[in-house]
């Protein structure tokens, strides 16, 4: 790495003894964080470890209960984001903070005092494009935000900070939303900025990516620092993992071998538009069988949400969708529910639950019309409470009572509530979108176990996930989506991360390197460039040589039955060996942004 710390250098950021408590949560517990100009400093930790909170303290959104902050050696106290901006601190949030219908330049000018009254946009367009050139960022300053790709929007966020003269940049999981090429470009940009003397804090929970980008490292676990300002080369992936989670373990899912049964779901030539009336699904053909999990892989926004919505009746489409021999395309959701379709939605709070209603009311959402809860026009709330109470115990939903409002449940418990509702109705088909996103590791495991149990019972499951590890562990087949097409489908025997990764970037199966796995449903009309494929393959080889082998995937200790505790770095003794280490390295290189994407909430 290029950065060398000189003894007399003044730290750009010095946070000492920061403590911040939210009601019920100690988000930061005497945290120290120091960063010098010209370095990229990774802040590593699990979901909810307190990374974003610490950085929000640095950007003036939160005031810590104790501790002090020095910027370039000067003690500061921030009352609002404005103070932090004045001290040269800027943050790129995970969810972009951009005004969709304003131009790039307008977004950059928000909150500034400089154009005193009249916006002379021409002049500022020029300034923005000069600044972009200085850091090698390509952007059209006059474009409206909604016209830009996600990667371009991120560049606007960075420019917004640079324009304010920031020399301390905070990037909150910046690669989470990017395609692989965009991530590479971003990392190059960040390194360029560090070379120009900027201090960059890089929040992440992806070990591989951190090793690639950062000079120094601070690790948080449950609000405490477990490694402070360490050099990255002092660490192996295992030791990093243990600092993040507490100890290292391996995914240990029992997935029994079983042959898929008869066909449950078939999509024929299904196309649909997205909310902006642009094509989102293009001529999709898919089939799904009893006792089979079909994983849908793809970079976010390539038609996965729309696919789920057309199957569940929430979005109009063209083409046919056969569920158990009945065409459910463009039928109201009530019809497909009555045909045995269960839906675990991506947005648990906004779609999957009624936040101000009781647990009972949320449980009966799809069966208020069935005995014993329904009597003619009446609804038997006693029977409903009984049902809800039973499911609450069975699915271990932690809540004071069945009268508790859904909004008071934690993310994991809310997901259990949704699973209890959807799975207890003995569905024929489960459509699950990002079922483990944003959950803590323990909850992830139990959600995955529940899905596997349904598979054993002969249920067909369509699993959409941006977490490739999850897809590989659970799926019998994986279909890869790119720009609304299903690029190809791969059976579990032929799972190959490299190929899935290439397909996720739009490479057609027939253009893949030799030893192509069995493929179905080639996507029409998609073009790819063989040279770029070769480049990718070259990249993979370099990575293979550069990285050590044999890293385990980590989950917390309480999830591991003692008898099956695996040896460190070894393979699992379970039926299906999920030793991902080889694949994982490549995967995280190429598709790191999709690994364990989660919200720090």
């Amino acid at each position: 790495m290029t950065f060398k710390e000189t003894p007399d250098a003044v730290p750009a950021v010095e946070m000492q003894d920061i403590t911040l408590r939210f009601p019920g949560v100690l988000a930061n517990d005497h945290v120290n964080f120091t960063m010098y100009p010209g370095e990229i400093h990774a802040l590593l930790g699990e979901n909810g470890a307190g990374k974003s909170t610490l950085m929000n303290v640095l950007t003036g959104l939160y005031k810590p209960q104790s501790g002090e902050i020095r910027i370039h050696g000067k003690k500061v106290s921030f009352n609002s984001p404005k103070d932090a901006i004045a001290n040269g601190i800027g943050m790129v949030h995970q969810h972009f903070m951009l005004v969709e219908n304003q131009t790039v330049t307008e977004n950059i000018l928000i909150g500034l005092d400089t154009p005193r009254f009249a916006l002379n946009l021409k002049k500022y367009d020029q300034e923005v494009s000069d600044l972009a050139d200085q850091f090698g960022i390509h952007i059209d300053p006059t474009a409206k935000i909604w016209q830009l790709s996600v990667g371009e929007q991120q560049r606007v966020e960075i420019l917004k900070i640079l324009y304010r003269g920031a020399d301390i940049l905070i990037m909150d999981e910046p690669t989470a939303v990017l395609a692989p090429q965009e991530a590479d470009e971003l990392i190059a940009t960040l390194k360029g900025m560090a070379a120009q003397g900027k201090a960059i804090a890089f929040i992440s929970h992806k070990l591989a990516e951190v090793k690639q980008v950062a000079d120094k490292l601070t690790v948080l676990r449950r609000g405490r620092v477990t490694a402070e300002r360490m050099d990255l080369h002092d660490f192996t992936r295992e030791s990093l993992a243990s600092l993040m989670v507490g100890r290292e373990v391996i995914f240990n899912l029992h997935k029994c071998d079983q042959d898929p049964g008869r066909e449950v779901l078939r999509l024929e030539d299904v196309s649909a538009l997205n909310n902006k009336n642009l094509p989102a699904l293009r001529n999709v053909d898919l089939a799904l069988h009893e006792g089979e999990i079909l994983g849908i892989a793809g970079v976010a926004g390539n038609g996965q949400s729309e696919l789920v919505e057309v199957i569940t009746g929430l979005r109009p489409c063209t083409g046919n969708i056969w569920l158990e021999g009945k065409n459910i395309a463009n039928k109201p959701p009530a019809f497909s529910i009555s045909q045995g379709l269960a839906h675990i939605p991506e947005d648990r709070i906004g779609v999957g639950s009624a936040p101000n209603l009781s647990l009972t009311s949320n449980i009966i959402m799809k069966r208020y019309d069935q005995e014993p809860i329904s009597h003619n026009w009446q609804l038997d709330y006693v029977a409903a409470d009984t049902l809800a109470g039973g499911l609450k115990d069975e699915y271990d939903i932690q809540a004071p009572s069945v009268q508790t409002q859904a909004r008071k449940l934690s993310g994991g418990n809310l997901q259990k509530l949704i699973l209890a509702r959807e799975l207890s109705s003995t569905p024929r088909l489960i459509v699950a979108m990002q079922p483990t996103r944003g959950l803590d590791v323990g909850a992830i495991e139990s959600v995955q176990q529940l899905l596997l149990r349904q598979r054993e019972q002969g249920c067909a499951i369509l699993l959409v996930s941006e977490d490739l590890d999850e897809l590989l562990a659970l799926s019998d087949r994986i279909a890869v989506m790119y720009e609304g097409h299903v690029v190809g489908t791969i059976c579990s025997a032929d799972f190959d991360i490299t190929k899935i990764g290439l397909m996720m970037t739009g490479t057609l199966p027939q253009d893949l390197p030799p030893e192509v796995p069995e493929l179905k449903s080639p996507a029409p009309g998609s073009v790819s460039d063989f040279d770029s494929v070769l480049d990718h393959v070259k990249d993979f080889e370099q990575i293979e040589q550069a990285s050590p082998a044999g890293q385990p995937v980590v989950i917390p200790e309480e999830e591991i039955p003692p008898s099956e505790e695996p040896s460190r770095g070894g393979s699992s003794p379970s039926a299906q060996d999920l030793n991902l280490s080889e694949k994982e390295r490549v995967l995280r290189k190429v598709l790191g942004e999709n690994y364990n994407k989660g919200d720090e909430a």
């Binding site: 005031k63 929430l314 009530a334 999957g352 009624a354 101000n356 959402m365």
Partner: protein, 368 residues
């Protein structure tokens, strides 16, 4: 929640059950105090005004009977509003639905739709009720349909329809149905009158002169029915679910458009029934001023009752008293003023249901 004042709001984990009632009552009391200050500012003595208020509304059984007369339409309309608001549909059109209901009921007599001399009284009244409700329901259908199919703001549509309904009634009472050029219809025959307490003065002498009519019974029955719908029925569950999270309701397979239209129609039917009781039970003719903004007061009644049908009964009696008293009090806007302030205070007091308020010194502001 951080606010730039030395107060800190903390989300209530479990607000006590009595809190909604206390805040509502507190809001009413505070509204009277503030209105008293405004009254004092205009030169009136608020204590005289308020004691007059009380006497004019609760001073005697006769006065209370008048209160019940005023409470009847408020109760019916308040129930309709409570149902619509539960689904977060802002039916501000009760006033118009009330007028159309009154018009349709009057049509039975004025067209006439039946032979008024030979048809039995119960049949005439039943027909008037039916047509009143149908009229209100159809008038509620319009904003319901526009909301469900085109997602057009129902507040503005219902308000515009209010003005249109009043003009529509004016056309008939100034024109075709005008009684000798006066702006009203002829008095309905006795067979089209809802029975009043005074009608039974022969049996119960105390009822002499009491104008309270059968309509209040309709209101009470409607309260029970709406209660059953909201808290005991599948339809009520759907309404509540749509009101809390329409996306979740759609995901659960509930047809939001159909329920939007249905709720608007039921809400309108109740307002239409209120219009019928007013012409058949109180004024016995169709005329220009049959409503003292019942449609709007019903909105406040529903909100003050926190959408609980039984609480609507209590609140509508209270507001009935306010309307009775304000008939004889100058300046005429005082009841509007009290209603406006009350509604404002009620919605402001909702913050107390959601948050505990703590006063802190600025330095500790974020230290909670």
């Amino acid at each position: 929640m951080k606010i730039p004042y030395p107060v800190f709001l903390k989300r209530h984990e479990d607000p006590p059950k009595w809190l909604p009632a206390v805040t509502s009552i507190g809001a009413v009391i505070l509204a009277f105090i503030i209105s008293g200050i405004v009254l004092a500012a205009t030169g009136a003595n608020p204590f005289t005004v308020y004691s007059y208020f009380f006497k004019a509304s609760f001073g005697s059984w006769g006065a209370f009977s008048d209160v019940i007369v005023k409470a009847t339409p408020l109760l019916l309309i308040g129930l309709g509003c409570a149902l619509a608001f539960k689904m977060r549909l802002w039916n501000i059109g009760a006033e118009g639905q009330f007028f159309i209901g009154a018009f349709m009921a009057s049509a039975v007599v004025m067209v006439p739709l039946v032979n008024l001399d030979t048809t039995p009284r119960w049949a005439i009244i039943s027909l008037m009720m039916l047509l009143g409700m149908v009229g209100g329901a159809l008038y509620g259908f319009i904003p319901g349909f526009l909301k469900a199919k085109l997602n057009i703001n129902e507040v503005i549509i219902t308000l515009m329809l209010n003005y249109i309904a009043v003009l529509w009634n004016n056309y008939w009472i100034f024109g075709k149905w005008s009684e000798a050029g006066f702006q009203m219809t002829k008095t309905f025959p006795r067979s089209a009158w809802l029975p009043r307490l005074a009608d039974y003065a022969a049996e119960v002498p105390a009822f002499a002169g009491m104008t309270a009519h059968f309509g209040i019974l309709f209101g009470l029955i409607a309260a029970v029915i709406i209660y059953q719908i909201l808290y005991r029925s599948k339809w009520g569950y759907k309404i509540t679910l749509i009101g809390d999270n329409p996306k979740a309701a759609r995901y659960a397979g509930i047809n939001i458009a159909r329920n939007t239209i249905l709720v608007f129609m039921v809400s309108g039917a109740l307002a239409g029934l209120a219009g019928m009781t007013e012409v058949s039970g109180v004024v016995h003719r169709l005329q220009e001023r049959i409503s003292t903004s019942y449609g709007f007061s019903g909105v406040i009644v529903a909100w003050l009752a926190k959408l609980n049908p039984f609480a609507v009964i209590v609140v509508s009696v209270l507001f009935g008293a306010l309307l009775v008293a304000s008939r004889e009090i100058q300046p005429s806007g005082i009841s509007f003023l009290i209603q406006g302030i009350t509604l404002f205070l009620v919605i402001s007091s909702d913050v107390l249901l959601k948050y505990e308020i703590k006063w802190v010194r600025p330095a500790q502001e974020t230290a909670q």
